[in-house]
Every structure is written in structure tokens, then in C-alpha cells.
Amino acid sequence: MSLGHLGYAFVLAGLVSAGFGAVVGIAGGLRRRPSTLRWALWATFAFGAFMLAANLTMEVGLLTDDFSIRYVSQVGSTQTPTVFKIVALWSALEGSILFWGLVLGAYLTAFAFLHRRDEPVYVSLALGVMLAVATFFAFLIAGPANPFEVLPNPPLDGPGPNPLLQNHILMVIHPPMLYLGYVGMTVPFGVALAALLKGEISPSWMVPLRQWTLVAWIFLTVGIILGAWWAYAVLGWGGYWAWDPVENASLLPWLTATAFIHSTMVQERKRMLKLWTISLALASFVLTILGTFMTRSGVFNSVHSFTQSDIGPTFLVFIGILLVACIALLAARGHLLVAEDHINAPVSRETTILLNNLLFAALTFVVLVGTLHPLIAEGLFDKRVSVGAPYFNRLTLPFWVTVLFLMGVGPMLPWGRADATKVRQQFVIPALVSLVTVGIALALGLRGFYPLAVFGLAAFVTVITLRELWIPIRGRMKDGREGLWAATVGSAGRARRRFGGYVVHLGVVMIAVAVAASSAYVTHTSATLKPGQSFTLDGHTLRFEGLVTGKEPHREFVAGRLTFTPRDGGSTLELLPRMNYYETSTDPVGTPAVHETLREDVYVSLLAFDGKGHSASFNAWTFPLVSWIWWSIPLLVLGCAISLWPSRRSKAKAAAAPAAAPGSDALEKGAA
């Protein structure tokens, strides 16, 4: 029996486990039989184990260059360095779906383990729904996207993974992060559908819904940012976001999940927006599936669709089933999710969150229309069109700016009726700081409505957020006579979700400022130079010294050596934008040189070179503050970690049942 057959056997076993668990979990849950939970749990663990085994089999095949497995013969090569052999698992369609199965198995196993002692009917239903999703993916792996097909006449060597994916180390972590985000949405989907199937949402069942969404959210967020960073550092066109359909596909579930994280607070406090909150959880999952369909079926011609495939129809059927099931359940059970309260103060925390949700819904709509329009135009009218970036920029900018404004106003307002005088008092300092910021920006010669609005609002939000973080700390330092560190840890621990949320907000402010500055004040020059000649870029000087060539294990390169002198005349340094030639590819792949500082990035890509005349052409940009986008990741992760950190009360429980799986911090029970 060859490795390919073994792997396929694991996939089939996973398919059977998932199918069995789905039927048992849902049927047992609907009949309210707590005893069936045991079967659903075992089916989940079996699915997780078989997916792990199938993925390990594929990794063995990739590492040992077993070209009798079709997938290995497509992406493997004896020349590829080991690290890229390992990540070749997710470098093409079939392997990435297999990897999806592994991530799904890990999530389901973690969920089953952590919630095995919760209300059995809920857990049984939730696992049943998640395993139904798992059945679909196992079916994909076993059928339309089978990576384990055994070739009767295996080739002696393969082409190796796509050079674009071998070009940068970010490609090793960006896809797994995005997958953890995408696949993670399956868990809140299962939890939400379980609530609808059971016909009630107990407050305790909202806790896992909220926490698992946050787990998926942070992975999705980091995955999107790393993807933008990758595009910036590898593709060399001088940007990080192009409103490419594939980028939009990851943004759509992010928008609805972000809306969910906010609306769930209203749901919890005021017992309102229940149907809406549940709908957002369902929509986030459906949008991840839609996103996967768009990314992986090759319907869009974009850099991400590396392969054409026939998984498209299968996905469309699945999306259809999902939509019908969700809408039918929402319609049938919606009346059980009535609001127990209503908004009685127009100026309050809950109103700002409601507005936030409307804005995110509008953003989702606008992005969805722009993304799907080319598909519809081609499918129905046979017209090949795309929607230009100006559409997205013009239509979404006002919404983004308003969301930023609400990020400041929301935390300032209390739940329920606000005391007008107090609010006015609190408003004064942030507003003043905001005006001063805009004044300074104007004095520095910065112009433009949107960037200045973003800077002003960013200052406004930062002051309010820091004040909200500081007030409880100061209180503890005064009353409890604690030190700064102890008081910070103490107040973070007392209201972890609030504290963590504000830390995340600070990260989002960084992104907003970076995006505004880098897109409004970008400068660009291109030049063709002979050695010794130089050009200026926004005051900096770049002198072309000559072409260099070099060799690395899996590629050779030609680079243009540039001496960079900063505009303030500081110390010079060398920049080496290059063009990489892979043994197995017909076309070169460029790598831009980026000189990164906190203030701005200097970004140079080698466009073309001529050996005879030794001249070279460069494209060069300066992007003010752009690196702040990536450096927001630690703040975002820290904030989410604080929010998800187990409370003291459940710590004893967590210690009793140590969990190694991701999301183990999700044990927190209703605290905060």
C-alpha cells in the first residue's frame, strides 16, 4: 500500500466519522437526548485524529519527495528547501483544502474537549452542526479536490511550489493565520445554529459564542494584516491593499464578525438585538465559505487563484444549502428571540453600538456589491468587467471615518441615559487635543480633508481610550495604594473584556492613521539609470552602483545596488531590490527593497535591467507611517488575549482540565 492510499484511507475514515457525528449530534440534540453527546464527542475526536493523520501523511510525502502522490508531483521538487516543502501543503488548492480539514479538526476537538461537561443538548447540537460542515470538507478532500490520487507513472521530479509563495517567509505564516480565522468561524456558526435548533439562547450559551468568535476574529485580523504585508513586501507594485476580490473575500467576514463582537454587548446588557446578533454570527460563517469559494474556485482571475478547479459547483451547492438552512431557521425560530428591552436613551452606549452595527452592515453591503458585480455581469450578461478601486475608496471612506468617530464617542457614553453636563465635560479635553492635532498637521503642511479628519479623530479616540483605561488604574493606585504595575494588572483583570477591547481599539487607531498617511502622502518616482547616476525621491538621494548577481539554493537573482542617502544627510545604506529566477519558472519574480523606519518606508523595486549597457530601471516610493499597520498586530493580539484570559473563578476549573488546544482560554464562564 502506497502513501497515497494510506492518506486517502484516513480521509475516508474522517468523512465517515464526521458524517456519523453530524447525524447523531443533530438527531440526538433535537430529541433532547443527553446520552447521545458521548457519541458526538467521540466522532469529533475521531475526525480530528484522522485529519491530523491525513495531513501528516501528506507532509511525509512532501518531505520524502514521493511523486506517486499527485499533489506532491504538482508542488513538490527535490530542489525545494525543507521549510518550503513543509509549507507546500497549503501552496495549491488540494493541499490547502486538506490543511483546512486539519484546522477544522483541531477547532472541533478543542471545542468538544472544553465544552464536554456543558449542557449536553446544546453541545450535541453544536457539534452536530460543526461536523456537518466537516462532512462537506471531508467530502471535498475525498472527491473533487482529492490530493492523494496515486499516479501510475510518477515523474522523477516536480516543479516545486509557486515561486510567489517561495519568495517570502511571510507566506509561511499568513495562510495558516487566515485559515485559523476562516475555519474558526465554523465554531460560532455551530453554537449559533445549536441555539436556533434548540429554540432558546440562555445567557450562558452566549459566552462560548462570543469567545469563539473573538478567537476566530483575532486570527482573521492578523491573517488579513499579514496578507497585506506580504503583498507589500513581495509583489512590488507599491501597495498593500488593492480591493482585489480575494482581499475583499477576507474583509467581508471580518466586517460582520466585528459587528457581532459589538452587538453582543448590547445583547448581553439589554437583552436586545438577539436575532440580529445571531444573524451576524451566521453571516460571518457563510461569508467565509463564500470567500473560500471565490479564492479557491478560480472564478476570479487574481494572483491568489493559482489553480483552476472543479470544486466551484460543489461550493455553490453548499452555499445554497447554508443560506436556505440559515434563513429557514431564523424564520422559524426568530419569534423566540424577542427583545426584552428597548432603547430609551438616544445618547447612550447602546445607541453608538447600534450605529456601529448599521455602519458595518453598510460596509459589508458596499464591499459585497463591488466584489460580486463582476461575477454577475459575466455570468448573466457575458460582460467581462471589474470594479475599480475608486468605487471602494469613495464609498467606504465616509463609513470608516464615522466608525472611527464612534470609537471615541461610544466608550465615553454610559449605558442607558447619560448625564448631559458630565458628557459635555468629558468631551472638552479630547476635542481640544483633536483640534490641536489637526492644527499641528496643518502647520506641518499636511492637507486634505480625509487624512486630517482621520488624524484629528485618531487623537480624539486615543485620548478617550487612554482616559478610560487610566481612570480605574488611578483609582486603585489612590485607594488601594497599589503600584502602577499592580494597579494596571488589577484593573485589567477586573474588567478584562473592557480593558482588552480598548487595547484593541488603540491598535485600530494605529492602522487608521497609517492607512490615511501612507495613502494620502505617498510619493513616487521612476528612473532609468546607468551606474554612478542617481535620482531623488522626496528629498532622499538614491545612487545606482551597478548590477549584482547571486545564487541561493532554490533560485538565482539579479539585483540593482543602490546607495541610499537620507534627506537629512544621515548615514548612507545599501538597498538591493532584486529579481529572482527560479529553476522551474518561466518568469522572474521581483523582490522590492524596503528601508523601514517608524516615520516612513522607502520602497524600491527593480523594474528592468539591461546587461549590455548595465543600466537599470527602478520604481521608488515613500510611504509615510505605513509600517504602523503591521506593528499594530502586537496590540491587537494583546487586547484579545486580555479579553479571553480565564477569570479567577474558572481558573480552578481550567486547572482541573488542562487543555493544550487553541482556544483553551475559552473556559471563562460568563465573567467580566
Binding site: 428597548h342 463591488g370 471589474s386 470594479v387 475599480g388 548577481t549 528592468a608
Partner: protein, 158 residues
């Protein structure tokens, strides 16, 4: 009708108006920002409708038509329907430095507008990456080392 029901109705009506407004704005802006994917033949078939909107014109670089003035960064070439001798083609003007792979007969996509004078003004030039991922076949493409050592006879590199 009590106060709560009335409030709810007002809220629903307001939402409906807002949603309809957003829909109108979204679809209105969509039309203005559409980018059309046409081949030279398809673009010429549009007649005067092709003058104005942003177009992505896809085709192959007609052999022997590349003119590159490095000192003025002025590039001119013809994009043809296919590599046939008598294929329909369109003159393209660009202010960009051509990328490394740009050469006679290669697939290109240019984004820009088509003037009534019959000249395609490109502001973005993309060379078709052969998405097929395989080693170059014999005689198919010159090695980069040759590019580096040989003279720029094909007028590819400036």
C-alpha cells in the same frame, strides 16, 4: 397603534430609506467605476462607446512595433488580437518604463482609456505572467544570463 409600535414603524421606515439610499449610491458609483476587459477586436466593435471608460485591453505585443525612448520615458507599441500577421491591433502610448519581461509577442494587459483619435493611453502596463508554472521549454525563452550579457537587440530593455 401604541407608542412602541409607532416608534418601531418609524425606525423600520428610516432603515428602509437608508438602505434604499445606500443601494442607489452603491449601484450608481458602480457604473462609473467599472473597468471593461476587452480584446482589441471587442474594443473596436464598441465604436464610440469605447471612448471614455477605463478599459483593460488584453492582447499580445505586435512584433516589431515597440518604440522606447528612454530619455523621455515614452513607450509606444501595438497590442494585437493574436500573433497572426494580419491581426487587428491598437496603438498604445505609455509613460511607464516597460518591465523586464516586456518583449515582442508577449501577452500584455494595458489599463487606460481609448481616445477618439484611435490611441490607447495606458497608465498601467502589466505583462501576463504565464500562470502555468513550469520550466521554460527549449528555445522558448532566453535565459536571464543571456539577457544580462547580450545586447538589447529585441529593444526589450531600455
Amino acid at each position: 397603534m401604541n407608542a412602541t409600535t409607532r416608534n418601531r414603524l418609524v425606525a423600520v421606515a428610516a432603515l428602509a430609506v437608508a438602505a434604499a439610499g445606500l443601494g442607489v449610491i452603491a449601484f450608481g458609483n458602480l457604473g462609473e467605476n467599472l473597468v471593461y476587459y476587452w480584446s482589441p477586436q471587442e474594443m473596436l466593435d464598441q465604436g464610440s462607446k469605447a471612448h471614455g471608460p477605463t478599459i483593460r485591453l488584453g492582447g499580445v505585443v505586435k512584433s516589431g512595433t515597440i518604440e522606447w525612448e528612454a530619455d523621455k520615458t515614452a513607450l509606444s507599441f501595438r497590442v494585437a488580437q493574436d500573433d497572426a500577421e494580419d491581426a487587428v491591433s491598437v496603438i498604445v502610448h505609455s509613460r511607464e518604463t516597460p518591465p523586464q519581461m516586456f518583449r515582442d509577442g508577449i501577452g500584455v494587459v494595458v489599463e487606460g482609456t481609448y481616445s477618439a483619435a484611435g490611441i490607447f493611453e495606458s497608465n498601467r502596463l502589466m505583462v501576463n505572467h504565464s500562470n502555468e508554472y513550469r520550466p521554460p521549454e527549449e528555445g522558448e525563452k532566453r535565459d536571464w544570463k543571456e539577457t544580462l550579457s547580450e545586447s538589447s537587440s529585441a529593444a526589450v530593455t531600455p
